[in-house]
Symmetry: C2
Subunit: 244 residues, 2 copies
């Protein structure tokens, strides 16, 4: 974290202008051997360059080339287990990270792994969603773009989180249950069907689909790269100025 | 969040140099009406200014004036209720914020207010400490200096948090129990003594004092501004380059 005072910048600007114009004057003197002329050009340069630099900056200000800008936001991926939330969220996080931005990926499972005492009752799930939401909102406030992948099955919990964030984008990963269950990346559906896991979303716990999500991605209809492209398109349109 | 590509910076530098030197050449021509001389000075200026700018930057690099730098860290204030943790933490957060840095103050009570379901049993307190610690470590990783004020009575929980942070500073606010109880800012000691609150640290719940805290501040021996000065001294020595 760096910061320079305005005074340092002003003193540096004056010092550079004095140094630069003295060099110009010296150069003119070297060629012409006329002291008054050299001094005159040096002084006039001092003034004109300040104005010219300003004009130069304002012109570049209108040119988008090579400029990236990203407004902090919270991209919240919600959907059934194995719907593809984490893969998509990781993709977004990687692409934005490569562009040089601060991105934090909060994964529901990873956070549960740190806090194994978090249960799966409706109340504990609700707390878990709101805690991750709180973490996301604090990061967003500190200039970070946050990508969250979390089953987050309750519409009301997600609504609460939306209210605590400044820019909340609900990405509904709408892959159908049959497809999620066929994938079953961690073998959890199979265990839930055998009754080894209780309160498993999609099997014996409800999932309340978003009514008006900002984005809906069905990973059974789109390839991972198509899904990612659609999300990045949204991010670029709403939060970032991408380099051409 | 802004970022400009290296290509944009290079193109801008070349464009400015061309623009600036063309202006110098024009200036010389205006005074002398000699085209070859003007062109020669313009070209020579282009080259020499690049070197001079570099020399100018390197010289300033050695001058500390007006330069601030702050490494992200976690300042963790632990101590009995009403010991003065929040006041000190707020002070640090205010001073660093005024210097233009990203600072986040996480207050235990404020976070409990958002999550009223957090209880006071040893297990729930431990979870609470580790959750706030996790939040602090994620913020620290994202370049934020985090100031935490939390009773955090368990040495083991604090040790776990220390391990998840990169730069962890334990500030033990060691104000004696009698003084804290006499202050009793929120009237909680009185209620705990009357048995209206159970598991209250200092009354019927233990407080494990840090064995090797980085800093110890007894607010019954130091005024708030003396305490704050001592902490800022530590921060400036270890994490920041303060402006003179």
């Amino acid at each position: 974290m760096r910061s320079e005072t305005v005074r340092r910048s002003i003193v540096k600007a004056v010092s550079w202008r004095a140094f630069g114009s003295a060099a110009t004057a010296a150069l003119v003197f070297l060629f012409t051997r006329r002291a008054a002329l050299s001094l005159g050009i040096g002084l006039l340069e001092s003034l004109s360059k300040i104005i010219l630099y300003f004009v130069h900056e304002r012109c570049w200000n209108r040119i988008g080339f090579g400029k990236h800008e990203l407004r902090p936001a919270v991209l919240w991926f919600t959907g059934l287990p194995s719907s593809g939330k984490s893969t998509l969220a990781e993709g977004v996080s990687r692409v934005l990270g490569q562009r040089g931005f601060r991105v934090e990926h909060l994964d529901g499972d990873a956070i549960r792994a740190i806090f194994p005492e978090t249960g799966f009752s409706p109340q504990e799930r609700d707390s878990h969603i709101r805690r991750v939401g709180h973490l996301a909102s604090v990061l967003e406030r500190n200039g970070v773009l946050v990508v969250v992948s979390l089953v987050s099955p309750y519409a009301e919990s997600r609504r609460l989180v939306r209210r605590t964030c400044r820019s909340f984008v609900e990405v509904y990963v709408s892959t159908p249950l049959e497809v999620c269950e066929r994938r079953d990346a961690k073998g959890l559906y199979a265990r839930a069907r055998r009754g080894e896991i209780l309160d498993f979303t999609g099997v014996d716990a409800p999932y309340e689909a978003p009514e008006r999500p900002e984005l809906t991605i069905d990973t059974s209809a789109l390839s991972p790269s198509e899904g990612l492209a659609r999300i990045m398109d949204y991010v670029d349109k709403n939060f970032s100025t991408a380099a051409p």
